[in-house]
Amino acid sequence: MSDIVVRAASWLGPEGSGNDLAGLAKWPAPLGEALRRGELEELRWAHLFEAEAQRFARMDWLSRLGLMAVELLRARFETWDPPDLEQTGVCVETAAGCLTSDLDFLRQPRPTVFAYTLPSTVIGEICIRHRFKGPMLCLMSAGGSTRAAIDEGAAWLREGAAKSCVCVACEAVSTDAAALLPPDLALENAWQACALLLGRKSGAPRERALAGGTLNEIGRDLVLAASRG
């Protein structure tokens, strides 16, 4: 039996946001309606967190959502203390990646946008904020399947490449960007993000054995389960 456990989970999407300790908090009414319409520009860092994120305003939405998901993980702990920052890896999985930033850059080439036309930029933003220096990987998945990121994170722990791993799944596809894709490639869940903190079993309460499943589904399920007590 695997000794890899989910130490914490977080999720945010059109329905709301939360983590596996606090549960799901629905967006307040006017914001929620805008977010369900995909109007991400209405979402502010301050809607969820008191602590500031200085770089947030300059980021693309893929990085913003990924960073918010990891911040929701951080809020899960009284003290954010992964075992060893130098030994904490980050594995991101995304289907559409930075398609929205690609379109922004095609429309108006600017250096501030170009830096976000790589899907792995979200890893850089997460690591800058949280000082993670462990192994890193950014995988492009097919049609929202996000299993590979957890498999990879769990393998890093088993092989001793990392002591803990933050696995993130995120999508942020604007309607305009989605229109760049072939008609038969509609992307579901045009925006959402999920983060899991994987570690080795320590016997601490609320640890859950990892037994398969996709990243965003595990995160969402754990958050919803917490909201139901």
Partner: protein, 399 residues
């Protein structure tokens, strides 16, 4: 830092069974081997882009006649340039592979922008085939390459800036070590396009005269395009001697989004992890193929990192960016192939376009190729946007 202490990961190891390339040097491995031997550069300006607002059009362009030949052989993908290049490289790499069931054959693709030309055509409402249109999403390019090469085992697509290629090789080796596949086809591909030229120009990252890695007058990088492919197989399926992917490591600087850490500490971490996984000591490394883009900060950082790892005994090292340019998602794969070609010829590669070594660069930085006294263990390193660092150790089995 003198010795690697950790134990090696258990067998089976991944070994290199074949390589293939489409690059600015032309189609196949032979032009690459010639470029290595002659220390020549395939960088050139593109006259058709003269007058555009780029810092320069000097880049490692794949010759149009090469593209035309590939398209003539596969009309269905005639405008799917990323597929054409990667497919051709994979065919060359997979010529002499042991026969395994398709379910034990995996594929890992490395790309930063996949078919960016297709995206530009769709954005500009220009004709674009359905095949090319799919490859706006890198994962679908990986899926189509896997289908074309009967790889029905695991398929992954790595997109992690300039370290993508090394991470893809790492993933391929991991598939074999974890028992998920017996053969893994690893391909890296990227194209130079308006998007890419405009992006790096906007960052003022290009050298108007062409890149001069580790040169005291360097001012930036040169872009390149192409595809590289490496076929990895379970070590016991190949005769001796063979080159193995002995170890790898990655890290994040956690410092800056587009610039490397000034002290090289992130790259040192990646190298140290690769040495630990390979169970090699610093003294066993015979050659280092550097990232060596030609930007001021990268080459400074890398020089510092190499000194930190090796002290005063930095092995012979060089950069290959002057041959092909910076091929982004293909760089790690193509540069690993260059290392293997150099080993095959018993030669340490030079650094084309380097004329006057920057005093910060290691004194063992090679301007020109040299006969290798011993070449059994090599280190390949890359760094990239987002603070990414990766290192790969290649080791030849003892006969």
């Amino acid at each position: 830092m003198g010795t690697a202490l950790a134990t090696a990961v258990s067998q089976p190891r991944a070994a290199v069974a074949g390589c293939g390339a489409i690059s600015a040097a032309g189609a196949g491995l032979d032009p690459l081997a010639l470029a290595l031997r002659d220390n020549s550069s395939a960088l050139r300006a593109r006259a058709t882009l003269a007058g555009q607002r780029y810092q320069t059009t000097i880049a490692g362009w794949v010759p149009e006649e090469t593209i035309a030949q590939l398209a003539a052989r596969d009309p269905e993908h005639a405008d799917a340039r990323a597929f054409l290049m990667a497919d051709a490289a994979l065919r060359e790499a997979a010529r002499n592979l042991p026969i395994v069931s398709p379910g034990r054959r995996a594929l890992v693709l490395s790309a930063t922008k996949a078919d960016i030309l297709a995206m530009e055509r769709v954005f500009g409402r220009q004709p674009c085939s359905k095949a090319a249109h799919r490859h706006i999403l890198p994962r679908l390019l990986a899926d189509d390459l896997a289908a074309a090469h009967q790889a029905r085992g695991p398929v992954q697509c790595v997109s992690a800036a300039c370290v993508s290629g090394l991470l893809a090789l790492q993933q391929g080796a991991s598939f074999i070590e974890r028992g998920l596949a017996d053969v893994v086809l690893v391909a890296g591909v990227d194209l130079v396009s308006h998007f890419v030229l405009a992006g790096f120009s906007s960052l003022k990252a290009l050298d108007a005269e062409g890149c001069r890695p580790f040169d005291s007058r360097r001012t930036g990088l040169s872009l390149g395009e192409g595809a590289g492919a490496v076929a990895l197989v379970r070590r016991d399926l190949l005769p001796s001697p063979a080159w193995t992917i002995a170890g790898w490591g990655s890290s994040n600087d956690a410092n800056h989004l587009t610039g490397p850490s000034r002290d090289g500490s992130g790259l040192v971490l990646a190298i140290t992890r690769a040495f630990q996984r390979a169970a090699v000591a610093t003294g066993e490394i015979d050659y280092v193929n550097a990232h060596g883009t030609g930007t001021l900060y990268n080459d400074n950082m890398e020089s510092l990192a190499l000194r930190t790892v090796f002290g005063e005994n930095v092995p012979p090292c060089s950069s290959s960016k002057g041959i092909l340019g910076h091929t982004l998602g293909a760089a790690g794969v193509l540069e690993t192939i260059l290392c293997l070609l150099a080993a095959h010829s018993g030669t340490l590669p030079g650094t084309p376009r380097l004329l006057e070594r920057d005093p910060v660069a290691p004194q063992t930085m090679l301007l020109r190729p040299q006969p290798a006294i011993r070449l059994r263990c090599m280190l390949k390193i890359n760094s990239g946007f987002g603070g990414a660092n990766a290192a790969l150790v290649l080791r030849q089995d003892q006969v």
